[in-house]
Amino acid sequence: MSEPIKLTTPLTEDQTRVLRAGDQIRISGVVYTARDAAHKRLVELLDQKQPLPFDMDGAIIYYVGPTPGAPDQVFGAAGPTTSYRMDAYAPRLIALGLRGMIGKGNRSPEVVDAMKQHGAVYFAATGGAGALLAKCIVKSETVAWDDLGAEALRRLEVVNFPVVVAIDAEGTSLYGNQAME
């Protein structure tokens, strides 16, 4: 495996279009957390033509519901959740400029089509390495929907967060040999 590529957020389309499936990446900067319930609310806001709680253009969303941190920790564990549950919502966010998603597992053809059209990439982090990944998160603040608990929308600051490009903006995928319904 080659040296990891360092990326700092926000991401431009020029940056994401050159990434290739299999590239090892270290992300630094801001990523937003959202999983099932937060995605439902983001899309409801779009349906109601309301502003979103953060600027989607160039953003990365991390599919994660962290554990609360002990007093000396930001979080205890914060690894990725399975991404396909966000597939119904992701294309609309990609169309608004969402340029990266971090999760685990394969994506639907609709998500991959939107990624190709708008120049977004899908990063995989190692599922179940929650303790290891939490150490790359240096700060967290809740942006919206505190009532969702672990599922709240948060703004994280990460340093050298390790991911691999699982599906690139040309649609090339590391999940090549598995069925996707």
């Binding site: 495996m1 299999g22 319930a37 994660v64 519901g65 962290p66 554990t67 609360p68 941190g69 002990a70 920790q73 979080f75 205890g76 564990a77 914060a78 690894g79 959740t81 399975t82 396909y84 685990k104 597992g105 394969n106 995989a124 190692t126 599922g127 179940g128 390495a129 929650g130 303790a131 290891l132 939490a134 150490k135 969702l148 608990g149 672990a150 599922e151 390790p162 691999v164 699982a166 590391l174 999940y175 040999n177 598995q178 069925a179 996707m180 319904e181």
Partner: protein
């Protein structure tokens, strides 16, 4: 008749939850190390190495192994000569779950209604399975069962003509279609026979067997070996990103069934195979 207080049961459950959430078992660690030595893909080896590193960090720094600290699964085998005293058992178990998930900073992942989806805030309710067994002891087992791998589980109501090959195909297909979603390398619990709900219970029970121990029946044990080889030959690998380690073990439990039926349940657990037990 031996007396055992609900307070004792609750205290031990809190200890089990803590133990399972922060410490990966010795068998699980060995299985990951062996897989790392055997894995053909470089990225697969890197992922397995991250998982071993993750287990060290969790233990040494007091961080949960995974942010999905699970549905709390509690199995109680209660000896028929035990008299449980000091209050009602179920509320005591609920209190233990609430305390353990709050005091250890574990994630609360339960919602009170599947459609309304409001978080209960304390990871209650747990899922409790109680059996009455001979003797005057209580065996309590705990598992933290993640949602991602549970979602990839399936029941097939096959018919007898499907036979051994049909059963094996269903199991291999279930694991392979799951791809990277359930956090491979997975542990596969198979319940073969019984009826609709019995097969699911057997599959869960199969996951609770010490990792890598084989079925008592030789024909079931042979099927476990064949299934593991077939699943790992499919090439999905760690996190579904390619490789030869898709499953760490396959555990089968079989049970008699109706002349018309051939039920098979496949319950998948992630590599973060968290369980603990105590005999009281």
């Amino acid at each position: 008749m031996r007396e055992l207080s609900v307070a004792t049961i609750a205290t031990h459950l809190e200890i089990l939850i803590n133990q399972a959430s922060f410490n990966l078992g010795e068998r699980e660690l060995c299985a990951l190390r062996e897989a790392q030595a055997r894995e053909s893909s470089a990225s697969g080896r890197a992922i397995l190495s991250e998982l071993l590193q993750n287990a060290d960090i969790a233990r040494l720094e007091g961080r949960p192994l995974c942010q999905d600290t699970g549905v709390a699964l509690v199995f109680l085998d209660i000896g028929q000569d035990v008299h449980i005293v000091g209050g009602d058992l179920q509320p005591a178990i609920y209190r233990a779950v609430r305390n353990a998930y709050q005091d250890n900073y574990l994630r609360k992942s339960m919602v009170e209604h599947p459609l309304a989806r409001k978080n209960t805030g304390d990871n209650n309710p747990p899922i409790i399975h109680i059996r009455i067994v001979p003797g005057e002891q209580v065996r309590m087992r705990f598992a933290a069962k993640g949602g991602g791998c549970e979602n990839m589980s399936r029941i097939g109501m096959l018919t007898p003509s499907a036979g051994r090959e049909g059963v094996m195909d269903f199991i291999v297909r279930t694991v392979c279609e799951a791809g990277g979603n359930p956090c491979p390398p997975v542990v596969v619990g198979v319940g073969l026979g019984g009826n609709f709900e019995k097969s699911a219970m057997l599959a869960k029970e199969a996951l609770m067997r010490p990792l890598g121990d084989h079925a008592e029946r030789e024909d079931d044990a042979e099927m476990e070996r064949e299934l593991l080889a077939r699943i790992n030959a499919e090439g999905h690998g760690p996190m579904g990103l390619g490789g030869t380690t898709t499953a760490l073990a396959v555990h089968v439990i079989s049970h008699p069934c109706h002349i018309a039926s051939l039920p098979v349940a496949v319950n998948i657990d992630c590599h973060s195979h968290r369980h603990a037990e105590v005999i009281l």
